[in-house]
Every structure is written in structure tokens, then in C-alpha cells.
């Protein structure tokens, strides 16, 4: 809801194209809810290429070392094309246009623990981004998070320390078995659900479309609720262009909710998984 010029405080190369981008913006940091995102571009690119801002989930709130007060945002940026390349090649001190926090985050009513005991957080690669703030909120609500974190190879499993520090259960898996179990993350998830057939488990997923679809199908199979954090190409990130839709099972007239406004987090049952939005 705020459009601010913000300074880059730090950029940390995490390997495999991933970078942690820390920006200074106390005002925006104070407003963040888990699952929200910002729209970013370098100020000097205005009118140039890339033309449009790019969406990034807020990975963490950066806090003042002494006061502990919100001082900025931590973002996880994976190089995917020209837009992300510009951002990860920027240097500390450089100024970004930053719009946000935008969108609906995860559904976290104060009484959630009366319905949910265990939360399975499922991430693929940079899909990990919304899950740290979510895990912290769940812990605060006294719901037990378990993280299922998959990637093609060990290098894709970034920022593991942040989660390990929370002391939660984590199941890693990689397609090449370089870290954790071999295979897709839906494998261990299904195993877990089979062994713990409890209705007070809830699923939260973020990652590639196919992975989220798999988690959704498990949710349907095990009759569990599931929230997914969606991606779509965005023109504006603020509800104006109608470019970022996802096809939905919902009733007529709302068959194309906006990822930037109605999402990015949505109930997986509202999504039409046969129509990928990218």
C-alpha cells in the first residue's frame, strides 16, 4: 500500500543464482503480514528495460540490531531473467522503487489453533520465501510447523539456517539426493500424511505450479485444507491491470481472481489446476 524509494542495505549471494536482498524501509516493514509481497525495480531503470516492476515475497522483516524494531525487508531473489538480474547486480546504497506490502497473506486468525494442530509447510526452491514469517506466526499461535523443503539439488535449499534456528522439524529432499531424501517433496509429505491421518493438519505450499498442484491433490485426498502462495505475471501488483489472474473454480464473475489482490495466498480448492497462469 506504500510506494517508497528504498535503499539496498545488503546483498548476499547464496549460490545457485539465489540472493538475499536487504532493504531499509521501517515504514513498510511495520505493515507486513506473512505471505505478502513487494513490487521492485531499480529507480534508474524507470522507463527503460525492464519496464515493469517485479514481485518478490517478503522473506523476513529486518530488525534494528539494538532496538529490535522493524527496520526493513529481507527478500530472496532468484535470478530468472533480465529483471531479477538487474536486482541481484545492484549494489548496497542503490535505490529501488518498492511498492508494498501487497496482497493477502496467509489466513491466520487468532483462534486458528482451535482447528489446527500441525501445519505442513511445503516449499520448492525459492518457494521457501513466504514460509519463514508463516512458521514464526504459527509458532506464536502454538501450532506445530513441519517444513518439507525440496529442490533439484542441495544448492537450491537456501536459507536453511533460518528455519533450523526455529527448532522445528524439517524434511529435506532433493532430486539428486545431494541433501536429505531423494525425490520430490510431495513424497515425504504423502508419507507423513499417511502415518499421521489427523484432520487438524493443514497444508501450506509455495513453489513451482506442478509441486503446488501435487500438494493440493494430497489435500483433497486426505481431506485437508490447503493454502498455496501463487505466482502470475504481474503488470502492476496493485489490482489495476487485471493481468495477474489465476483461473478459479469459484462462481461466475469471480472466475479470475487477481493474484496480486485476492492472493497471492489462496485456498487451493479455489484454483483451477488445469490452467497454469504463466
Amino acid at each position: 500500500m506504500l510506494d517508497r524509494k528504498v535503499k539496498i542495505k545488503e546483498i548476499r549471494d547464496l549460490g545457485a543464482g539465489n540472493h538475499l536482498l536487504v532493504i531499509t524501509s521501517p515504514e513498510q516493514a511495520r505493515l507486513v503480514r506473512p505471505g505478502q509481497f513487494v513490487m521492485l525495480k531499480c529507480v534508474e531503470d524507470t522507463g527503460g528495460n525492464p519496464l515493469l516492476r517485479r514481485p518478490f515475497t517478503i522473506f523476513n522483516i529486518h530488525r534494528n540490531a539494538r532496538s529490535g524494531k522493524p527496520a526493513g525487508l529481507e527478500l530472496l531473489v532468484k535470478e530468472a531473467g533480465a529483471g531479477t538480474r538487474r536486482l541481484v547486480m545492484a549494489r548496497p546504497g542503490q535505490v529501488l522503487d518498492c511498492l508494498g506490502p501487497q496482497g493477502q497473506g496467509f489466513h491466520l486468525p487468532p483462534d486458528l489453533s482451535s482447528r489446527v494442530a500441525t501445519a505442513c509447510l511445503v516449499a520448492g526452491g525459492v518457494g521457501i520465501a513466504p514460509l519463514l514469517l508463516l512458521a514464526e506466526s504459527l509458532l506464536a499461535l502454538r501450532i506445530r510447523p513441519i517444513l518439507f523443503y525440496g529442490g533439484a539439488t542441495a544448492a537450491d535449499l537456501v536459507l536453511r539456517e533460518s528455519f533450523e534456528r526455529l527448532g522445528i522439524d524439517i524434511i529435506y529432499c532433493t532430486e539428486d539426493a545431494s541433501h536429505g531424501e531423494r525425490g520430490l517433496v510431495t513424497g515425504p509429505l504423502e508419507q507423513f500424511l499417511r502415518i499421521h491421518p489427523r484432520k487438524d493438519t493443514r497444508l501450506y505450499a509455495c513453489g513451482p505450479w506442478g509441486m503446488m498442484r501435487g500438494v493440493h491433490e494430497l489435500a483433497v485426498g486426505y481431506e485437508l485444507q490447503c493454502e498455496v502462495s501463487l505466482e502470475a505475471r504481474m503488470g502492476c501488483g496493485l489490482g489495476a491491470c487485471l493481468g495477474c489472474v489465476v483461473a478459479s473454480e469459484a462462481s461466475e464473475g469471480r472466475s479470475y481472481p487477481l493474484v496480486c489482490q485476492d492472493g497471492p495466498v489462496m485456498n487451493s480448492r479455489l484454483v483451477r489446476w488445469d490452467i497454469a497462469p504463466i
Partner: protein, 318 residues
């Protein structure tokens, strides 16, 4: 009420007001349909009172769901879109959005769309009776729907016909006709609309374009083609605005790739009475306010008292 040089100049600087078909705009900077939502989405980012007007997203009588995704794709200095006329419908707009817009001192122009002529007439008739709507903009040029719409801009006779009919259906409201750039000679369409009773022309809508993902070998948009907008199209838009200005006597509103006050000035110098800012709203939500301020600065720097001194002032080489 076109201001003349005998008007009393406000102390604060150059006069930026313009008039289009009897409606006065405090400055010639408007926002383009489909790029500014229903207006209120932008209230957090700029002062809506600072711009001349808002052209809202194309409305049909019944809500339209639009095209399945992907709907947008970025290209060099531009973007493709194939939204497919998704909108909440005119009645919902009037009930839910218009009252909010009434809180602002700016003009509201409603862009109207339809798959068939009758649908256009229905929404025009409906809006004719809605206070708070200051003009209609007839979108006969949207390339992103399977049928209808666009074909009214393939032959000037069709443009004439739909303009005349909508004119009759909505006698109270000034009628702007928005033209497509995807034609051999925009002057023919400009003249057809003028003859049929249009009060102003909006020039241009998007150019039809395409992009392909070379790895999946699929179009980047599910609709295959989409409308190209943004800085990339500005030279084409400016040329067409200039041509249209030569061809008709009614005001022309310039649209296409405008992102700075300089861009807006190019269109005004070419003859546009006002401009609309489109795609730039997406990456710089406050851009329209900034452009309006920039026009004032330019006038002050060039000792221009009234924006009308600029409009149509293109010079030739000696």
C-alpha cells in the same frame, strides 16, 4: 469556454485547463482505460485531485470474466496484454465505484465495450442517466476478444455506424471514440467518427503483437496475440495523433507510451488537446500527477502562460 489570453491568470502560474466537448479539465493529463482500474485503486499513491480525469476500465452491461491466463508479457520497452474485457459490469461500477470517485475533484470518463452493437447501446443508454459520469469513451478497437469490438475499426463505415448509434443512445454525454492503430490510414476512421457525431477522438489503442516462448514453443499469452503498449509504441502513437489532428476539427486526445511530461508535451505539440497515461501507471503509480506537475514546470521555464499556446504548435524546419 476555451480560455483566451484575456482570462485573468491565477497567481500560481500557467493555466493548464482544457475543455473537451463542453467539459472542463483542470489539466490535460488523464489516465487511460484499463491501466488505472476504476481509479480508486490508485488513491493510496497519488492525489487524484491533481489530474484532469480518469478513464475507467472498459465496461459492459453484464460483467465479463475475461481471458484465461497468462494475460500479460513484457517486451522491449513495452508489454503485451490480452485481458479480454474483464470487468464488473456497468451497474456494479455505478453502485460500488462511482460514489467513491465523486469524492474527488476530477473528471470521470467511462470506456464502454461490447461484443455486439446492441450491447454497446445498452450500456451507453444506462450510463447516459448516471450523474458523475462526464463522458463516454467508445472502445471499438480492442484487439483482445475473440469476436466483436474490433471489427468496428476495420472499415470506416462500421466506425461511422456504431458512433452514430451510440451517439443517439446517449444524448446527454460527450462521446469520445477510441481508435485503433492497426489500420492503413487512421484519418479515414477519424473522419468517419467525426461525421457520425463524435465529440472527440482518443488515439491510440494498442498495436496487435505477439511473443513466443522458444522453449515450450507456445505463445506467451494464452490468447496468442495481445495489445502492445508502453514507450515502445510512442513514435507510432504520436504520428497517428498528428495525422488525426490534421484530419478532423474535433479534439484529439493523445495516448500511447506517455510516461513523462516531455512525452505528454510531444503529443500536445502535435495537436492533442489532452493526453492519457497508460502502461506507465503500472510501474510508477503516481506518474500522472508527476506529469501534470511537469507540464506546469515546462510552461514556467518557457514563459508560457496557457497550455493552449503549446497545443498544435509544431514548427517546421526553416
Amino acid at each position: 469556454m476555451k480560455p483566451t489570453s484575456t482570462d485573468k491568470a491565477p497567481l500560481r502560474g500557467p493555466r493548464l485547463g482544457v475543455e473537451i466537448a463542453g467539459v472542463r479539465f483542470k489539466n490535460p493529463v488523464l489516465t487511460a482505460s484499463g491501466t488505472f482500474g476504476y481509479g480508486l485503486e490508485f488513491a493510496p499513491y497519488l492525489d487524484l485531485n491533481a489530474i484532469g480525469g480518469i478513464v475507467v476500465k472498459g465496461l459492459s452491461m453484464k460483467p465479463i470474466a475475461g481471458n484465461p491466463p497468462p494475460r500479460v508479457y513484457e517486451t522491449a520497452s513495452g508489454m503485451l496484454n490480452a485481458i479480454g474485457w474483464q470487468n464488473i459490469g456497468a451497474a456494479a461500477f455505478v453502485a460500488e465505484k462511482l460514489p467513491g470517485l465523486a469524492n474527488y475533484d476530477t473528471r470521470v470518463i467511462v470506456n464502454i465495450v461490447g461484443f455486439e452493437l446492441d450491447e454497446y447501446l445498452e450500456v451507453a443508454r444506462f450510463l447516459n442517466d448516471c450523474p458523475g459520469v462526464h463522458a463516454l469513451e467508445l472502445n471499438i478497437s480492442c484487439p483482445n476478444v475473440g469476436k466483436g469490438g474490433f471489427h468496428f475499426n476495420k472499415d470506416p463505415r462500421d466506425t461511422h455506424k456504431i458512433t452514430a448509434e451510440v451517439r443517439r443512445a446517449s444524448p446527454r454525454l460527450p462521446l469520445w471514440v477510441k481508435l485503433s492503430p492497426n489500420v492503413t490510414d487512421i484519418r479515414e476512421f477519424a473522419r468517419a467518427a467525426e461525421e457520425a457525431g463524435a465529440d472527440a477522438l482518443s488515439v491510440i489503442n494498442t498495436l496487435v503483437g505477439m511473443a513466443i516462448d522458444v522453449h515450450s514453443r507456445r505463445p506467451r499469452l494464452r490468447f496468442r496475440t495481445g495489445g502492445l503498449s508502453g514507450p515502445a509504441i510512442k513514435p507510432v502513437a504520436l504520428r497517428m495523433v498528428w495525422e488525426a489532428c490534421q484530419a478532423v476539427r474535433i479534439p484529439v486526445i493523445g495516448i500511447g507510451g506517455i510516461a513523462t511530461a516531455e512525452d505528454a508535451l510531444e503529443f500536445l505539440i502535435a495537436g492533442a488537446r489532452a493526453v492519457q497515461v497508460g502502461t506507465a501507471n503500472f510501474y510508477e503509480p503516481a506518474v500522472s500527477e508527476r506529469i501534470a506537475l511537469g507540464l506546469g514546470e515546462y510552461c514556467r521555464a518557457h514563459r508560457i502562460d496557457d497550455i493552449h499556446e503549446i497545443i498544435g504548435s509544431l514548427r517546421d524546419y526553416e
